[in-house]
Amino acid sequence: MILRLRVPAGLATALLAVACAAPPPPPPAPPPPPAGPRSYVVLERNADGTTGAVVVQGPRGTTVIERAGQAATLDGAPLPGAFAMTPERVEREFGAAIAARPRAAEVFRLYFETGRAVLTPASERLVGDILAEIATRPGVDVSIIGHTDTEGDEAMNERLGLERARWVEALLRRRGLPATELTVTSHGERNLLVPTPDNASEARNRRVEVIVR
């Protein structure tokens, strides 16, 4: 309901003069934050500059967000066009969660000399870096994961990957690996660095990854 007041022109001018003479009004209060939805998801850009996607499935349907800063309610309703998050609002709502993000895991890839239980010179140089990285992280945990290429039998490759991982574990212990939470596993031929068909010899896939978190 809007009230319309008819004010004689002369009176209006007089009121205006009075208003101008009065001290300046206090600055207006900042506008209240936009109401918007209270429960939602916001897509962010990845550390490498790419952006993935999130699929929201809810009682009102399925919605996909694919651009950084794009947001969607959690009920799966089609995107309201205006619902984009400003960096200021992201900081206000999510600053604490973002600040608590742990450091990304550091992955060290170790390679062996062909047919020998010896690290390549480049991999040998990484051993010191691994131990140094472990020393910098609070509440650190370490995974040593053996990988093979797709040549040969899958079960055999799992065993082979585990042997390589244990070999690296023994090496790190000899070099002074501190007592820390450690898991030694094998992914066999199921986590390739370089995708290949089955039964492909590929040196870059025959590796041990040491992951420091």
Binding site: V41, A100, R101, R137, D141, T183, N191
Partner: protein, 151 residues
């Protein structure tokens, strides 16, 4: 073959069950706390552990933060989870054994704010990673995102 192995594993779990409420019986850790601000807890069964860097988390653990608190966890597949204040996140499922073709990650946010940075499970099998909310379910396609639940 894999099915049979999973079945036997499930059977073994059932037979060894009955004491799963104790943290020490919750199996292998699936990750660790890395950052804490203010007061936060890792609740696993009956055990309510104040969170500190290095505190282990398990399948079934619930991460909880107090007012103005925060908590950051790194999972064994390099997924990063971090919570703002007055938040609650349950770790319902974590399977990371690619050689056994066993992959999956399901987390459930009850309230508060979460940043999710996906790891290797999402890379190897994106459709097996989900974040459940009281309203809907989020499918993760190799990415980082923020969720707020306030209802």
């Amino acid at each position: 073959m894999t099915r049979l192995r999973d079945l036997l594993l499930a059977l073994a779990l059932v037979l060894s069950g009955g004491s799963l409420v104790h943290a020490q019986d919750a199996g292998e850790p699936i990750g660790q706390v890395k950052t804490v601000g203010g007061t936060a807890w890792v609740v696993t069964g009956a055990a309510n552990v104040p969170a500190a860097p290095g505190t282990p988390v398990y399948v079934g653990s619930v991460l909880r933060t107090g007012p103005k608190a925060s908590l950051g966890v790194a999972l064994r597949d390099n997924t990063l989870l971090s919570l703002g204040g007055e938040s609650e996140l349950a770790l319902d499922e974590f399977r990371f054994a690619p050689a056994r073709n066993s992959l999956g990650l399901v987390a459930r946010i009850g309230r508060g704010t979460l940043e999710f940075v996906s790891g290797m499970i999402a890379k190897l099998r994106p459709e097996s990673v989900q974040v459940k909310t009281p309203t809907g379910t989020l499918g993760v396609r190799g990415t980082r995102f923020l969720v707020k639940v306030d209802e």
